[in-house]
Symmetry: C2
């Protein structure tokens, strides 16, 4: 990926960061880079994620999915980091295989998917490191039953990705299912370039080697200076802007195919950096659509935002037909891609003209190689930002409380968290 | 809708608002309500939106869509307020008619939709108040051409919703197309309960009367006190929390069918209140999915957020099959709906336990009547908040700059904004 932080400079924007401050920050980047390199070399928890381009074996993943390689549809049962990386890749790239991600426990929605899918030609991809994630296991039990009711043998169509032990591992062994391992030392939100993210890509027939090569090329750029490494330029700039008041980071891809990448980024950023009362709040946006929704706020609301544009340099195009409506004749001289590009440049300039900081992240095009680079680059940016904040990037302790309360409420054990639910303070205003 | 602001009180959360402060704020609410009532009585620009339950004529809308009532699919061509209200209703409610919203100008994505849809059984719903919106007109020219290429007469399958005059109005007249009017005094983001939002609902066979009756029932609750009116309770509480530091409002429906409503809300809030360096930033979330993505940040990140839960009190359910995995046996005793409810209550309590403000907005179920109430209630909440902020709720001046720049870049006239694009400050870090 390429990064342009010109519109985040203090000469352009407020909040903004001066070149001098960036140069001072670069000393911290050099120190952080040493810690990151050491963590990678020691395969330390979390840092190991940045070794995935070397560690992941595409042949092993392809072998596991071989029994379902001809599936018409792939149903991935997973949530959070067990779903978002795979969905980002699957939704970005064209494939004849339909992909559905069962990442919620809404009964009506789950039923609608199961009623609609051609189960006899659908493969199941169940993903949970612990093998105990309540949402994933509940959905998997329902999916299995739906396959059985339809007379389809789910054991012939299921791939399991889980940890070394646990209920899902036991189940895979008992039914002799093809299975892959969630790599050690890699938190879910950093696992897109492991089996967790790549099983769906393999079933869809995407080029796993190109995904990993793109990521490896991005890894090559990790050096001790933000001025030489796009990932560090992005991570350091977002950190510096947050420190100066830009507590929100609105990520706005200018391509429908990259819409899910903004959701993936939002998890990466929120779960990694949102702790100790610190962390930038990711907001998911989409160009050009949100020019007619969020742009008013971004340009004229509080000065607490950075807008991150993510844009491919090239892509498919389509001419706009000519029109006899005089006022609109200019459209007929252009292509839809030119309109998209002009809207992007106009929006970027409109924020700069209002002195609102923004950063441009570019990839050459939306393909496996570039996507691998983007995913890896954003992960490295996040790891660097975590070093600069001084937080534990790779843990997510705040999600545990609600898990225990949920389990307690459903009778899965005694938890004091469940009792707190009953003590809710109410101030109700009813219709 | 029903609103519970108990978890936004200062006794529970920080930032939070004390009961005394709410009582003082209620005097401002009373004054604001008088201005709102006066604006409604005078049909003043913007305030007129709150009269839509009385003004909109369902028969007129049904008559306009009658020629395409049997369509298999409906392609709505519109962007921002010309799309989001219609999409919110269509995506919330079941229908045999497939609905697609062409609200972006990504060439690959537009082409994929046109290649996939059964054009001979697809109706077109083109919506633009001015009739000159570049994205909508460009897409409409492309859609027309695709229909012609497929040998389908688009003039027999197109419904136009636009202002009294302009290129789209002329086109509707020239081709004798069924057409409806974007009502005067109603900004796009407040137009869900007019023809703008209801044409798609009518083609899908939804109960327009129930939508409007639900909205009318919500209108009945507008009184001079936040303690008696759910909409004002919500608008006043979000305003008070923003003043006390909760600059972000994360809207988190606990129903897949309401996911689009969070996008609709985000436009309503951002474009109405984001001006004069004021306004709360909406963030779109989804329960339970985002418990595994955003919850860490909401519970342990900066104390600058309010979380708004939107939840139906009842809905379809589905049992979770029993399992022989001992550790997961508790799941098999529950339904998926009970798991969803437990996760919601646990998440709400987990935020309260960390003293993070949150508000619960409830509807009885996801149907036309309740949806009409929710849309109307949130609009009234937004109008009230605009009064409290003292901004011009019904304008969106900051989106004009980029429109002019886009037009200039495409050769549609001389605009100084287009020249500013070329002057971009760069600081590039390349791979």
């Amino acid at each position: 990926m390429h990064v342009d932080i010109g519109n985040a400079l203090a000469s352009v924007a407020s909040p903004g960061v001066s070149r001098e401050s960036l140069e001072r920050l670069d000393d911290q980047v050099a120190d952080a880079h040493e810690r990151i390199e050491r963590g990678m070399a020691n395969a330390d928890h979390g840092y190991e994620s940045l070794n995935l381009p070397q560690r992941t074996d595409p042949d092993e993943i392809r072998a596991a999915v071989e029994p379902v390689a001809d599936a018409e549809a792939l149903l991935t049962v997973g949530i959070g980091g067990s779903s978002l990386g795979a969905a980002t890749i699957a939704n970005a790239l064209d494939s004849d295989t339909e992909t559905v991600f069962l990442d919620n426990v809404d009964p009506e929605w789950v039923t609608a998917h199961l009623d609609r899918l051609p189960l006899e030609n659908t493969a199941i991809n169940v993903v949970s490191r612990s093998g105990t994630t309540a949402e994933t296991l509940a959905n998997f039990l329902i999916v299995r039953e739906a396959f059985e009711s339809a007379g389809v043998d789910w054991t012939e169509r299921t791939i399991v990705t889980t940890g070394e032990s646990g209920p899902l591992r036991d189940l895979a062994t008992r039914h002799d299912l093809p299975s892959l391992k969630v790599p050690d030392g890699v938190p879910g939100r950093f696992s897109a370039l492991s089996a967790v993210g790549l099983v769906a890509a393999a079933v869809c027939g995407h080029d796993l080697e190109a995904l990993l090569e793109g990521a490896a090329a991005e890894a090559e750029t990790l050096t001790g200076s933000l001025f030489e490494c796009p990932a560090y330029a992005y991570g350091a700039t977002t950190y510096a802007l947050d420190q100066r008041g830009a507590g929100t980071n609105a990520v706005m891809p200018y391509a429908e195919s990259l819409e899910t990448s903004a959701e993936w980024f939002a998890q990466l950023w929120a779960e990694s950096l949102g702790k100790d009362d610190l962390g930038q709040t990711p907001a998911r946006a989409l160009g050009v659509t949100d020019q007619h929704s969020q742009l008013q706020l971004y340009r004229a609301g509080p000065r607490d935002k950075l807008v991150t544009f993510v844009t491919p340099r090239e892509g498919p195009d389509r001419p706009i037909p000519e029109t006899d409506v005089e006022d609109l004749a200019y459209l007929g001289d252009a292509t839809l891609g030119e309109l998209l590009d002009a809207e992007f440049e106009a929006t970027e300039a409109s924020l700069a003209a209002a002195r609102r900081p923004n950063v441009r992240v570019e990839i050459e095009r939306v393909d496996e190689y570039e996507l691998g680079g983007l995913l890896y680059g954003m992960e490295a940016a996040c790891v660097l930002a975590g070093e600069l904040y001084g937080v534990n990037t790779f843990e997510q302790p705040a999600v545990e409380w609600a898990k225990k309360a949920t389990r307690g409420l459903l009778g899965g054990g005694e938890f004091e968290e469940a009792e707190a639910v009953a003590e809710k303070t109410e101030l109700r205003v009813e219709r």
